[in-house]
Symmetry: C2
Amino acid sequence: MEKLKKYVSVKDEDHFYHQGAVELLIFNFLLILTILTIWLFKNHRFRFLHETGGAMLYGLVMGLIIRYMTKSPDVESGTVYECEKLKSGPSTLLINITNQVYEYQYKREISHHNVNGHQGNTMLQKMTFDPSIFFNILLPPIIFHAGYSLKKRHFFRNLGSILAYAFLGTAISCIVIGLIMYGFVKAMVHIGQLKQWEFHFTDCLFFGSLMSATDPVTVLAIFHELNVDTDLYTLLFGESVLNDAVAIVLTHSISIYSPKENPNAFDAAAFFQSVGNFLGIFAGSFAMGSSYAVVTALISFMHLTKFTKLCEFPMLETGLFFLLSWSAFLSAEAAGLTGIVAVLFCGVTQAHYTYNNLSPDSKMRTKQLFEFMNFLAENVIFCYMGLALFTFQNHIFNPLFIFGAFVAVFVARASNIYPLSFLLNLGRKQKIPRNFQHMMMFSGLRGAIAFALAIQDTNSQPKQMMFTTALLIVFFTVWVFGGGTTPMLTWLQIRVGVDPDEDLKANAASQSESSLDKNTTKAESAWLFRIWYGFDHKYLKPLLTHTGPPLTSTLPEWCNPVARLLTSPSAYGDQLKDDDTVYIINNEVLTENCESSAHIPVPAQDSTGSIQATGKEDIQEGDLGLGGYKLQLQHTAGQLQKNSSA
Amino acid sequence: MEKLKKYVSVKDEDHFYHQGAVELLIFNFLLILTILTIWLFKNHRFRFLHETGGAMLYGLVMGLIIRYMTKSPDVESGTVYECEKLKSGPSTLLINITNQVYEYQYKREISHHNVNGHQGNTMLQKMTFDPSIFFNILLPPIIFHAGYSLKKRHFFRNLGSILAYAFLGTAISCIVIGLIMYGFVKAMVHIGQLKQWEFHFTDCLFFGSLMSATDPVTVLAIFHELNVDTDLYTLLFGESVLNDAVAIVLTHSISIYSPKENPNAFDAAAFFQSVGNFLGIFAGSFAMGSSYAVVTALISFMHLTKFTKLCEFPMLETGLFFLLSWSAFLSAEAAGLTGIVAVLFCGVTQAHYTYNNLSPDSKMRTKQLFEFMNFLAENVIFCYMGLALFTFQNHIFNPLFIFGAFVAVFVARASNIYPLSFLLNLGRKQKIPRNFQHMMMFSGLRGAIAFALAIQDTNSQPKQMMFTTALLIVFFTVWVFGGGTTPMLTWLQIRVGVDPDEDLKANAASQSESSLDKNTTKAESAWLFRIWYGFDHKYLKPLLTHTGPPLTSTLPEWCNPVARLLTSPSAYGDQLKDDDTVYIINNEVLTENCESSAHIPVPAQDSTGSIQATGKEDIQEGDLGLGGYKLQLQHTAGQLQKNSSA
């Protein structure tokens, strides 16, 4: 007894002192190497291997070393024990071994052919970390950052097309991959590589949905560096960001879809339930994310103006911002919704409202913090993907399935981009040219999200096979397509070195010149957003931030007491700096009113005629010389004037 | 088979989707609550409950809710299975349950009387996170930040006393607690509460060492806010920071100490081996930490000057800084040394060298990043401590042991502070007054480190009893002593509202007036540091940073080619801004030379007579009108002059 105690205690102590340190050190080492490489690449303007590709390569080499250089130290493992009393695997197992009770925790199901081999290598086990770490810790900063740094003006210009690619495109891609894979699975069953009951059509669709998530990281980093044409950039950025959200919710919905009787037959009720699930989860997650952001905006706004100053303690402000945004993710997950969607829209809303309430110090702090976390998380994920090829212990390489998946992924991407672009071009004034379409086809990289969705569940053999295949597709697309981005841009003659703001102005200018011809399509698709932006500008912005016109001027007269209570004193001074909103309104007004703007007299209808310094300065700050814009500004300036003199 | 599969797969999916999200959300919620409370306290200048105390309180309440509001959902657990084939607990267990293999991972040993009860509550299990997370993730930023933000000039003025308190004091405290606890344990064995073989003298010493780690967080936060007398602040800060390191190494050394035969007898060989271990681990960790910092300094220095600019990419620079500092911790842990000591000295060295090489942007980024991580980690730890009282499932409350521990901790603190202060006052010119001694006695809070050391190993019954007791002591000291800090300061008439720099100058001035009497003790204890600082200033600073005199002027003539290679061009321009070093040299020179400084002629021996603008400006920047300081500066200025004209 005494001796055993000693043995166990010594073992544990060693266990506790170093547990995790070596594994974390390996990751640190990989990241340091990656950073030095990035730095080297940046200096030598080397673009054939992007940093993410580099991180993955280092991970791969490290995985190889760990797999073949470390030996299995634990003799006991590899042996399977029988336990007749148990009927299923409980999450915690208490076992009495020679009069001492030990606690064991459930880890996973192991397929029979993987029981031997490297099962006993504790180093490999430790390097394979819990998928929940991906979902709860590494993905949120990346997605939040995407939302937080979204360039709203470019995004909204192409919103229709982006939504079409993201929703319709992803659905098409999912179904096409699912169908092709089902064909391959049938073939595999036919030649005896797979048993019928192991792989249903829903499993194929599940694979289709997870392989439909395209990765924004690699291509966009290169695009950003090269200043590729803004429209192409925005289309790809918008598509890949929203498409991640769609693919995740789709995967979730499909995994819930469980037809009652025959799993291969089509069950209409279950199907519509899944579609309902999809819509419900998406809307719920959107609501969850936005409400957290609104709460953050309200807290920071109240502290900023009404009560005492939170902004005097930038650390607290940053902390609150960070924690509430993360909570948006976690609450959505805990509520059975999709955290990624919640955190994406939380990021967009935070940037739109809360950001304006922060002190200048906190603005910078939060921006740098999220940038840094995004950077680290991204590189950790890519290093880990490299590692996983050799350290993950339940790979199932099935050549036919892998071949099928490669075919399916490319066919699906093509049947997403080309038909949709054709349809969109029917409606778009500014067509999506052929070379953009080819580039979008080429940029369908699979990355972190596909990997995370695949690693989420590797408990059954079909899932393990999917994981292995997904990993290989990620490798291939990141290295080959990621590395080929620069040559492809040259080959497709896509212009680089464009200043996004210049480009937008030039576009707007050329539009205002050429758009004397009727442009009903755009005006029609835009009316909803114009209403939303008007509402946002008049009511939400003044309520949640200290930009925009004071509520006292936008709400009806009888609401004045409430409005005055809700308006910050600084709203009268600081307003009108919010150029994104104005830009969008302006842009729409422009498309609609560019003819009429010429003959509307400058002092607008309800202005009191006193257009003074404030208004004029603001016009200087915004975009220059656009009739609709001037109108808008002067309108507000007039109201302001009227209000402050009342 | 099919049905079981379904069951397992559904269970797992649910498992993976929400795993961790709820627990993380609880922590986020606690942290948000804490931040809002801090903000409220700061506004109302409420100081009877410090933020850490608040965090702990919230954790406690949440723990209570989780414990009594959630029910054990898993029927299986609580049942102990027999496994006759196993001889000891392997780290991974493969179990065949109804023809499917499941993998289980070793978690811990469970004492028999804790098998039932709340064992089956999975929520409680999930809230109890792995101690390795504490050590590898939460502690490093706190300790690094302590080192990074160390005010060197105040620290070094009191270095002798700080070292005495930290090394001798901790050893005294450890032995006193160990002896008193051994008495109580003997008594418990006598009345039959404990079996003889369960608790050795080494276990008592182990408890003594972990309870000797005083916490810098709570008291110092209040001191910092109130601007308490700088000497007292520095003494307490220095003591608690170094004492953590000492206590950790001591705990480690004691847990390694294993006398061959009778565990209660004194084994001289094993004892000296432990002392050797202690010194070896301390020195090794110190070396590890400093070398990582030196590597960071070299990388950032090289990039800054010789090669291309890393500082153009502040993100990469910050990332590298962060990862290398963390690697210092992890490498030390992986090498069997103490990461905390390594990361502490890494922080000090980073602040001394690397900080000077960073771009202004990175300087701010790193500072804010570490500040933020420190803030979060601190509050997470205190929340968790609150939670642990109710969520930890293997508590052993033994009233006699707890009472004994309380007595031991106070006696030990008293026998550390009062005798040492008496001895130190014999040597110190500026005595440590009685009220400072009482305040130091009172400020012996136990916090994060004591908790982390106790939770590290809770596998055996004595360790579980120690953990429970340590937790109660932490609660008591943080709430009672932490909350009583402000009244105690008033009661002891310790002055507050002191500007540290003003204070230092005033002290220096009064010293220069009054120190005409001989002060050999201080001069003697200071010569080592003077040599070190001279060396640092002349060789290390120029080699690792772009401050200090160029190497070409400090190295002998024949080294000139090497020196020129190693000196950055900017060293000639940017130097002499490094006032910490100069201040310390000056302060020592002052104590020694204040008589002679009057009759040393201003142009010093090897100056070439050309004391010009640069030198004079620097004198203005530093402390004013101190002879030794002028001498030093002019000496350097002269060399600079000589060198640049050569």
